[in-house]
């Protein structure tokens, strides 16, 4: 036995564990488990625990209160069907948009893909308000309609389930767009070419070949859009309450205002339950692991589909879509930021720049912008790496338990922001060990990590399933250890997915409101907090101006990304 450096075990299971330790997977697993425990499980536990406490003792009373009220079931049902339809809209817009922009010879690709992700930068509350301003009873579109077809009610009602679905759908599709666009770039084009030479037309290729190949990404993006819909509060609050149309989040908000936090947490647990069931459904539908390994060891350059005669039509459809889902709400937002007060008539005398002046004269608002820039970058960077490693352990490393980490990481995304905020306060005011982070800026970082872990997990998962196993195996056979393989082969190949995930997290965290508003303190204000506070105290114009100010940030981010992509391209083109 002396010749072997590795202690052989009598027990195969012990040997397996030893192997896991030996190549670093177990160490990594333990580190990541600790990370997930601290950022997700422990705060989550604080919330769940409270839901079982009534007047200091364990009780199911809160759950009874939740389950005995019929209106709660109505709210669950409303949440479900509204989110499902909204997700369908998001998936259709996001997937079609991504396909056209990434894989056809349409002009102005750069500008189009920027425009397509831009709505993501608008806080949902503003989307809702923007759409009220556009299509509400006295909105611009409604006024136009009346001017054309005479006075009387318009044939639509923004204050309805339909309105909620529409606004949710057009607000959340960038989640699908970003995930699917990344996947499309990586599909081996010979698979499409093979269909083409078999006599299949473009549309059919897309349906039969391309779509199934990027299915994991579509499901991944769809899952994000779904959870994003089901946990949205701003849109159903603005558009639903007037129609007495309640969803779970608006019910939870009510419970929080009473305030009956145990009841709210019990309802949140219900929401998490609903979201989890949906997630399991999505994951099931994603299907098997290796079916989609399309980044293989045989390399080809991505193919571009010539639209030919259909080009003008496609361009027209895209431009129309962008006008409706991107330009219109953005216009409403920008308009609001320049109007003296929300709803003022559109004449010169009511236009003003004083909202912008007010912002630049408020030191806290300026500080908020800086804080948001840093916090978002921090959260995005940390999450991108940790979630990539979790996904890797799960999909490639095949470590038992990594799947559980992955599932746990998705849960917080289904929690309403205010519940996460409460969880952070409960968890970090007087933690059993370590410093009290509540009251410092670090709690915001932790909160963003908790809230957006799902983005990182979903995007890295979608990319990882596309990487063929043999590429990692070749590195191992070259003598690289498992961890080295991850560093040198897997992470670089994951890069497009990681960049997409980073951007998703960055943009979301950059103007996050609902969590931040509960846990910020002076010195750690964020741009989202200020948008919310301005909005809440009636300074709609200033809030809109702040939201508009976030747009250049997105723009710069996007330009950086393009620059990076071109750099990468040039690297690829470089010839010896």
């Amino acid at each position: 036995m002396t010749t072997s450096p590795t202690a052989p075990f009598e027990n195969p299971r012990a040997a397996r564990v030893w192997r896991l330790f030996g190549d670093g997977r177990m160490v990594l697993m333990i580190a990541l488990a600790l990370f997930v425990f601290l950022t997700v499980l422990y705060p989550l536990f604080q919330v769940v625990w409270r839901s079982f406490i009534v007047e200091g003792s364990l009780s199911l009373a809160n759950y009874e209160a939740v389950f005995l009220r019929a209106s709660n079931f109505v709210a669950v049902w409303n949440s479900l069907w509204v989110s499902v339809i909204a997700t369908a809209i998001s998936v259709v817009i996001g997937t079609l948009g991504a396909f056209v922009v990434m894989r056809t010879d349409i002009p102005w690709k750069g500008a189009l893909s920027l425009l397509f992700v831009l709505p993501f930068a608008i806080p949902p509350l503003f989307s809702a308000m923007g759409w009220v301003q556009l299509a509400g009873p006295v909105g611009l579109i409604s006024q136009g309609w009346r001017a054309m077809f005479g006075p009387g009610p318009v044939p639509w009602n923004i204050y309805s389930a339909t309105g909620i679905i529409f606004v949710l759908g057009v607000s959340n599709y960038p989640l699908v767009f970003l995930t699917v666009a990344g996947a499309l770039q990586r599909v081996d084009p010979t698979l499409e070419e093979a269909a083409r030479t078999a006599g299949v037309g473009t549309g059919r290729i897309m349906r039969d070949i391309t779509l199934p190949l990027v299915k994991p990404a579509i499901y991944g993006g769809g899952l994000l859009a779904f959870v994003s819909s089901i946990d949205n509060f701003g849109i159903p609050a603005v558009l639903g309450m007037r129609a007495q149309f309640y969803v779970l989040t608006t019910r939870i908000y009510e419970a929080l205002t009473v305030p009956n936090m145990p009841l709210a947490t019990a309802m949140s647990v219900l929401l998490v339950g609903v979201a989890l069931v949906a997630m399991v459904g999505f994951r099931r539908a994603e299907g098997g692991r290796s079916q989609y390994a399309v980044i293989g060891g045989k390399s080809t350059t991505p193919g571009i589909i010539k639209l030919g005669r259909a080009k003008p039509w496609v361009v027209a459809a895209i431009v129309l879509t962008i006008l409706i889902v991107v330009v219109a709400p953005l216009f409403a937002l920008v308009l609001t930021s320049f109007l003296r007060f929300w709803g003022a008539p559109l004449t010169w005398e009511f236009l003003t720049t004083r909202h912008y002046e007010a912002i630049f004269n408020t030191p806290a608002a300026r500080r908020g912008i800086l804080n948001s820039l840093l916090l978002a970058a921090g959260a995005a960077t940390i999450l991108v790496f940790t979630t990539a490693l979790i996904s890797w352990l799960n999909i490639k490393g095949r470590v038992r338990g990594a799947g559980t980490l992955d599932a746990i990481g998705l849960i917080p995304f289904a929690l309403p922001g205010s519940v996460i905020g409460v969880a952070m306060i409960l968890a970090w005011s007087n933690p059993p060990v370590g410093p009290a982070l509540y009251g410092t800026i670090w709690i915001l970082l932790l909160a963003y990590i908790m809230r957006y872990m799902a983005f990182g997990l979903q995007t890295s998962r979608a990319t990882l399933t596309q990487i063929h196993d043999s590429l990692e195996e070749a590195a191992m056979a070259s003598g690289a250890s498992r961890m080295r393989t991850v560093r040198d082969i897997t992470l670089p190949l994951l890069r497009p997915g990681l960049v997409a995930g980073w951007i998703l997290i960055y943009i979301s965290a950059f103007n996050e409101l609902t969590v931040s508003v509960l846990i910020w303190t002076s010195g750690s204000e964020t741009i989202g907090v200020w948008i919310f506070l301005m909005q809440d105290s009636g300074f709609t114009g200033r809030a809109a101006a702040l939201a508009v100010l976030t747009l250049p940030v997105i723009l710069i981010l996007y330009l950086l990304m393009r620059w990076y992509a071109r750099l990468e391209e040039r690297r690829q083109k470089r010839q010896g």
Partner: protein
């Protein structure tokens, strides 16, 4: 010796009200710095209760719009009593008998109307007339707006109005929207003709050029104190007390009057054009009763709407 250090100040008062007061105070007490944590009233309450749930209240001074919150805090022992020279100048209804809280400000909820849609003759003079506007009338949900919640309490206990008012509103098609912001925006934009509006908000909007105005009703408006109090766990009681005294002082109140608010002191004149507190017919509010029956009321309302 003069107070020094930091005061953690939790406030749901609008920034343009609070900031000048803080600035004036810090000028007077250069050794004290006030850390303002401003938040919407609902979020502020969520935060306060979460902190309490977690075992410690960070706030040294709290100033919020909902009196019931302070009754709850007082009952749970989270407030510290404040003995002050200003007690004499503040009427009894505007302070706690045990000196646990004082009103720092008063605002009124009456009828807000759109001057383009409502002729001067048609402005509702009482709450029954308000209902005649049907779907063109709106209020913020008492479930989300603290002021409306208090108003609901006042209505229900009022002999001439009562719970029936809400049932009639429902029948007439009166709109209930989420918060004060929504209802104000709807009024400004012309979606609504009349709303349950707040005096200083209407005044501020009108100052911006919006076609809105505010009217007092003859059967009573809601005159709501916004209490201010010191947290029981404060680690800088001197500075906290100094800050609170400054707000209650004649100088502090004058700053509020400059912003269209009614003063809480009898020795400070109200803003020009506003009735003096004695001319206003205010609804009675029993905050104790409200604190006790609030949940039930809310449930009743959410069953109705």
């Amino acid at each position: 010796d003069s107070p020094s250090g930091t005061v953690n100040f939790y406030s749901s008062m609008q920034l343009d009200i609070v900031e000048p007061i803080i600035a004036a105070f810090e000028e007077r007490h250069p050794d004290v710095s006030v850390d303002l944590l401003y938040s919407g009233s609902v979020e502020l309450e969520q935060r306060i209760f979460a902190e309490i749930e977690a075992g410690s209240l960070r706030a040294d001074v709290i100033w919020a719009a909902n009196p019931a919150l302070f009754l709850n805090l007082k009952d749970a022992g989270w407030l510290a009593a404040h003995e002050t020279e200003h007690t004499e100048a503040i009427p009894e209804g505007l302070r706690d008998p045990d000196n646990m809280w004082f009103a720092g400000r008063v605002h009124n909820m009456g009828v807000g109307y759109n001057t383009n849609l409502v002729a001067p003759d048609d402005v509702p003079t009482n709450w029954a007339e308000f209902l005649e506007w049907g779907p063109q009338a709106a209020l913020a949900s008492p479930l989300h707006s603290g002021t409306n919640f208090n108003m609901m309490g006042a209505f229900v206990q009022h002999d001439g109005i009562g719970w029936e008012w809400f049932e009639q509103a429902r029948e007439a098609g009166v709109q209930v929207v989420r918060g004060t912001g929504d209802v104000t925006r709807g009024l400004v934009a012309g979606e609504f003709a009349v709303i349950k509006g707040i005096d200083y908000i209407m005044a501020a909007q009108a100052a911006d050029g919006a076609p809105v105005s505010f009217a007092f009703t003859t059967d009573g408006v809601l005159s709501l104190p916004s209490p201010i109090a010191i947290g029981a766990g404060t680690d800088n009681p001197d500075a906290a007390a100094a800050f609170m005294d400054f707000i209650l002082s004649a100088e502090g109140q004058q700053l509020l009057v400059d912003q269209h608010f009614l003063p809480v002191r009898t020795d400070v004149d109200p803003p020009a054009g506003l009735p003096s507190p004695s001319e206003i017919i205010a609804l009675d509010v029993d905050y104790e009763w409200l604190a006790e029956n609030g949940s039930e009321l809310r449930e009743r309302f959410s069953d109705l709407y």
